[in-house]
Symmetry: C2
Subunit: 407 residues, 2 copies
């Protein structure tokens, strides 16, 4: 059975017009001889009656906090509705189509409501259904725990649904349809000459997604990577090839591998750098991190030195950090409104001089580097917020991203 | 465990105000030491975004017919939403409350989508949950088939959900909350002096429900009767006792049994009487009924005589009946716009003279009887539509229903 998974997000199924575009992709795949698993999100965004945020808005009208278990029961209906509406559209086009909930399609998760993790895919029923029809429309985002409780996979969960099915069925492709034509070398609002990447590695896209690029959820990429299923990021509104994500640059091994060091530049703004001097060694440092974790404050860019600690937190959490340090009689230096710039590229591994190129490019534009860090596929720099766009543009130009991806 | 089931229909959970009234009933029952299973319908009616009819309205936008399987997936979300919203309200009142879907609560049905029948109640999970919390809010109307498919119990399904749970848990009462204060001796729009029945038997209410009284679904009453669980029809907006439905008049056996022959008068309008003369005996007559059934035309009031057949159908189906008879070269006499008046009463069993009283009462008002039939607890008469209200009133007065139920 030749299977393709096609995921349509909320904006791709929000109204009749967009659903028609989505259905055309399904139809084409069926004509090409594929069995299609279409994974759909809830229809639309806040304001649309069946969107996730609207359903959540039904709650807390009593100033109370609903249990997370019940919250998952509620929000998961958005995807169920969407799956039926989309199935009807496909049936009206004489396609043999059938809808399934996440539970029916085989998503077994842990019991962590709101951000459940898939622990097993039991796809017998889904495979059986695919033998009978050409298209199974699966409600994304949904799972069921071992106790039979309804769970959801968290934000971006439908991406995860799609790649998990793709991996379980060893699909030829997992197509993530969205409102852009692919993953870009940088945010086009910042870099006018940003280009669509024709291909990238799982690791690159994963890093870019964690570092601010919003096209696909990083967890979804990780699952595809483990399952060795290629992802394509494509536009619902066009037939463009989009960005192919696989284990090698250029897709099929070595076929058109490009010698590039950096694939894309991502950025996250609204970050506060905290420097704490005179800490009493690692025990106190560990205590600080433990308390930050206990308060669910995500910490990044950690630099630990004897008696000195540097890290970043989201701007909005910095007041809590201040209070936390005060209770320990520690003084912190806070630089608010910073931005984290990430240069991502599988091709930088083992290539000397990439950091030096980055530092050079930023220095040339007179941009101070507040902090830096690197892994074998990513180099991060922290800059003042007002330098962010300049820095992204400088790095984009330094690595000639506007040119190198042209084919 | 002392359990009470409380069912709240769509109008009882449609907005914050009505939900507050409903929640007050739950709260009172908990204070009285009950574990409560609250069964809820979808919120509101056509026009409200999460009502069953509105959800159905999302379909057929493509002029197509969705599969019944997918239709059930869609409409059942209305009750899921309702169950979570109501649970949140209860939690905000510091009640220990939890929501369950029909599948989780144990409704195992056959695979007849849209009007599934309950084949088994697997209430282990529900009982377990009731041990942990004070109130479980169950999404009414929903079931799950042996193959794990979502089903719905058809119109009035939440009544059935409530009595099925009541029977399975041997609840003390199943309270059906609605917008009236109980079941009345006749439609108060027709009979000004109609009274609320303080009590009635399952059989009586079942007959009245099948004969046009709309307060509770007859299938729900049958399930309660089999399970020997008393039902109370009560108003969400008051603390009135409502109508107690059990196996004996007056509730607790013999306690305040009233010697009444007739309990209530029900009516259905919009009925066509069809008379077919010169049929060729029972073989042809059987063929006619088979074809009516094949075309899903519900037939009532059947009188079979040699070479003569009389029956009623809903007015809107009579053109089809005409065509059907034409194809058999049979002539039918059609009297449209008739009304069926039912006098229901467990107390008429074995009491002579009830039919004669009815005929006398109608004759006195110069009302022609087009047809009549009787069972041991119901006497039906068919009259012209324009005589309907007069006939209901005449029977109501004849059996002194406005007086006899006063206490």
């Amino acid at each position: 059975m030749k299977v393709i998974v096609q995921k349509f997000g909320g904006t791709s199924v929000k109204d009749k017009e967009t659903r028609e575009l989505a259905a055309a992709h399904v139809e084409r795949a069926v004509e090409e001889g594929y069995k299609v698993v279409a994974v759909v999100s809830a229809m639309g965004r806040q304001g649309d009656p069946y969107a996730t945020d609207t359903l959540l808005g039904l709650l807390n009208q009593n100033g109370s906090q609903i249990s997370t278990r019940e919250k998952d029961m509620l929000v998961s209906v958005g995807e169920t509705i969407s799956s039926v509406i989309f199935t009807e559209l496909l049936q009206s086009k004489k396609l043999k189509a059938s809808a399934m909930t996440g539970a029916q399609a085989g998503f077994r998760t842990d019991g962590q409501y709101g951000s459940a993790r898939i622990v097993d895919m039991q796809t017998e029923a889904l495979v059986h259904r695919l033998e009978e029809v050409d298209v199974v429309v699966v409600a994304g985002f949904q799972g069921v725990s071992g106790d039979g409780e309804l769970t959801t996979l968290g934000r971006g969960g439908s991406d995860t649904s799609a790649t998990a099915i793709g991996a379980a069925l060893q699909a030829e492709y997992v197509d993530i349809f969205t409102d852009v034509e692919g993953i870009m070398t940088a945010d086009p609002r910042v870099v006018g000459e940003a280009e669509i990447l024709p291909s990238a590695t799982y690791q690159e896209i994963c890093n870019m997604a964690y570092q601010g690029a919003k096209v696909i959820h990083p967890r979804a990429v990780e699952i595809a990577m483990q399952g060795k299923v290629p992802i394509r990021i494509r536009s619902t509104a066009s037939e463009a090839a989009g960005t192919l994500i696989s284990s090698v640059i250029g897709g099929a091994a070595g076929s058109d591998r490009i010698e590039r060091q950096v694939t894309g530049i991502a950025h996250i703004s609204g970050v506060t750098q905290v420097t704490v001097e005179h800490t009493e060694g690692v025990v106190q440092q560990a205590a600080i991190f433990r308390e930050l974790a206990d308060n669910d404050i995500s910490v990044d860019f950690i630099t630990i030195q004897p008696q000195r600690l540097v890290f970043t937190v989201p701007d909005e959490r910095s007041p809590e950090v201040k209070i936390l340090l005060d209770t320990k009689q520690l003084e912190g230096t806070f630089i608010h409104n910073c931005a984290k710039i990430s240069a991502v590229g599988a091709g930088m591994t083992g290539v000397p001089g990439v950091v030096s190129k980055i530092v050079g490019a930023l220095a040339e534009k007179d941009i101070s580097i507040l902090q830096s860090a690197d892994s074998h596929t990513t180099i991060w720099t922290l800059v003042h917020g007002e330098d962010m766009n300049k820095a992204v543009l400088a790095l984009h130009q330094m690595f000639e991203l506007g040119r190198q991806v042209k084919q």
